[in-house]
């Protein structure tokens, strides 16, 4: 289990995070919600090694760890899918899945090994792409998002962080991607989803963590919470009652 304990980060005059705690147990999809400037992005950056917190502890399976670089985060099994996906649109699905981590023998690409693994991975996630040998530029937004998520899984991570995975998608594609996220949880991965869309959050998550002005402002079991309580925690109108 990956956990953040009382993490703080200050950017000059702005206290972006102020003693925030978050648990990501395996097999659970946790949604991280909050208004703009609530500290969601900073917390994600702390967990993915982009930003080093001023204070607080990150633990993995109870042991304190240091995540100083994105590379280190990946090495510890923490994969992040950024909002802009970071795909090479001129390359095909297989090439994108293994980008920077190509299967090779000496310096020669193992095309067949990569394509076999890619097809198995996509099939196991129930991602349907008609032809995985066409450039990613030819795929729909939902398919691209699925490729980006599948790519995060190539390194066999234990934690997957998804930044606004449905922000750019239509209704049907959103449903597909939410299904995919659910399947990540079913695989036993710890999943953290950052989203603005409360309907999506309720559809996909087991737990909802709310940030407000850099602090924890609520933590709900999704099934037992009401939308009003979550909104209240986000806006802070009746934050005291919403606190568990």
């Amino acid at each position: 289990m990956l956990s953040a304990h009382r993490v703080s980060k200050r950017y000059r005059a702005v206290q972006a995070l102020d003693g925030v705690s978050l648990d990501l147990p395996p097999g659970e999809v946790v949604a991280l919600v909050g208004d703009n400037g609530a500290g969601k992005s900073t917390l994600v950056k702390v967990l993915s090694g982009v930003v080093i917190p001023d204070d607080g502890v990150i633990t993995q399976d109870g042991d304190p760890i240091r995540i100083a670089t994105p590379h280190e985060a990946r090495r510890r099994g923490i994969a992040t899918v950024h909002q802009d996906l970071a795909l090479c649109e001129n390359l095909d699905v297989v090439a994108n899945l293994f980008l920077g981590d190509e299967r090779r023998r000496w310096s020669l690409l193992s095309h067949i090994r990569m394509e076999r693994t890619a097809r198995d991975l996509l099939a196991s996630l129930d991602v349907r792409i008609p032809d995985i040998r066409v450039p990613v530029a030819m795929l729909s937004g939902g398919q691209r998002q699925s490729v980006a998520i599948a790519r995060a899984l190539v390194g066999e991570p234990r934690v997957v962080i998804l930044d606004e995975p449905t922000a750019a998608l239509g209704v049907e594609q959103t449903a597909q991607v939410l299904d995919l996220i659910r399947r990540l949880g079913d695989r036993g991965l710890a999943v953290l989803v950052i989203s603005h869309n409360l309907a999506d959050v309720r559809a996909v998550s087991d737990r909802i963590a709310v940030l407000r002005l850099g602090r924890n402002s609520g933590d709900f079991r999704t099934a037992e919470s009401t939308p009003e309580a979550v909104v209240a925690a986000i806006t802070g109108s009746t934050a005291e009652e919403a606190h568990p």
Binding site: H71, A86, C88, R116, S140, Q173
Partner: protein, 393 residues
């Protein structure tokens, strides 16, 4: 992207994205056929074995420079210094070989090494100093030409001995049996590669193209090579220069498609930020690309010097550079980066050199020749730009 926008875009899908890559090289091949038909009907010498052999000789040098251009164009950058570097390398080689009396191979080696260092310098200025590649290599275009003129001194021209290794390089013709042997080996290698790949894919349970398709491609290649060899053997034989150029094209294509380095080249050209985040050393790739571009330009310059049997003040003049860039783009390398194969250099230089050659045969004024070449280039870049505009985002 809303669902409506997706629906609206759908009918356009076959056109967008890879655009020309979908059609492959067929538009260029169609253009070549058109050129052959037009010039062949206007002048019966155009398609003669002798003229086609001349064409093969003429395209090797600039084609090799175009190969180098493709290396940087794949990254979405440009190398304007390729012409000057080709001239400078040829002059360095000639001075060492003729004036200093070096053996030819060390002289060529030093010239290539010097060019590689020049490329690294360009790459360093681009990656470390953050200068646009356009400006870096524009400075190179002027500066390296200046150095070349300085090295040439007041004499201006240095001749290569006619019976020497370098002049003979472009006056060596493969006997018919050797040409057929090389062609046969290439076809066998291609067929073996295709069949082994087919087997391995089937064994791995991956979708395979039909065996007939594989054989059809090999048959097409065999037919094309047989045509080239029989036509060129009817005259003086297959020129060694063409074999060198062809080998460079094939090797570079294999490297770009089947090595990790090649994959990273396309990745950096497609989305440098994504490549960086994937842990690819983007600057290393860029340095190698610029070094390769300058080295290939030097190869081209040496081939040109060999053909002329001399270097002079117009070695690698601006015409060379523009022809090389035009060849790369006409052949299908995208100026926006990430798309194109080394075969673009071969096809593109064939188009340009055929037009040039045909118009010279027809005694068309060079003014018209420039305008026609420019029109072909403009059409090629327009197609490239349209293909890119069709892409989402």
């Amino acid at each position: 992207m809303t669902a409506l926008a997706v629906l609206l875009r759908k009918p356009l899908r076959p056109l967008r994205g890879t655009g020309r890559a979908d059609l492959g090289a067929w538009p260029v091949v169609a253009g070549l056929v058109l050129i052959a038909v037009v010039f062949g009907s206007l002048n019966d010498r155009f398609l003669s074995a002798e003229n086609l052999t001349n064409l093969a000789l003429q395209m090797a040098a600039t084609g090799t420079i175009a190969l180098g251009i493709i290396m940087v164009v794949l990254l979405g950058e440009i190398d304007l210094s390729a012409g000057s570097v080709s001239g400078l390398a040829a002059v360095i080689m000639t001075i060492l070989y003729v004036n200093r009396g070096w053996e030819p191979l060390p002289a060529i080696g030093v010239a290539l090494l010097g060019a590689a260092l020049i490329g690294l310098l360009h790459g360093w200025m681009f990656t470390r100093l953050g200068m646009p590649s356009f400006v870096v290599t524009l400075a190179g275009l002027i500066g390296w030409q200046g150095l070349m003129l300085y090295l040439l001194g007041s004499g201006g021209t240095i001749n290569l001995p006619f019976d020497g290794f370098l002049a003979r390089l472009s006056d060596t013709w493969l006997p018919a049996w050797a040409s057929w042997l090389i062609a046969a080996l290439v076809v066998v290698a291609r067929a073996a590669g295709g069949l082994v790949n087919h087997r391995l894919r089937r064994a791995a349970g991956l979708p395979v193209t039909s065996l007939a398709g594989v054989l059809l491609r090999v048959g097409g290649l065999a037919l094309a090579l047989a045509a080239v060899v029989s036509v060129l053997s009817a005259d003086r034989g297959v020129p060694l220069l063409l074999v060198i150029f062809g080998a460079l094209v094939v090797i570079l294509d294999l490297v770009l498609r089947h090595t990790v380095f090649g994959r990273h080249m396309y990745a950096v050209g497609g989305n440098a930020e994504a490549a960086r985040r994937a842990g690819i050393s983007v600057n290393r790739i860029r340095l190698i690309a610029f070094a390769a571009a300058s080295t290939l330009a030097a190869c081209g310059g040496i081939l040109a010097a060999s053909r002329l049997a001399a270097v002079n003040q117009s070695s690698g003049s601006s015409d060379t550079l523009l022809m090389a860039i035009a060849a790369a783009v006409i052949g299908g390398a995208s100026l926006f980066g990430g798309r194109g194969r080394p075969y673009a250099a071969l096809l593109g230089i064939l188009v340009i050199q055929s037009i040039t050659n045909g118009m010279l045969l027809l005694n068309v004024d060079s003014s018209v020749r420039y305008m026609v070449t420019a029109a072909v280039l403009a059409v090629a870049v327009a197609l490239d730009s349209l293909a890119r505009r069709g892409q989402p985002r």
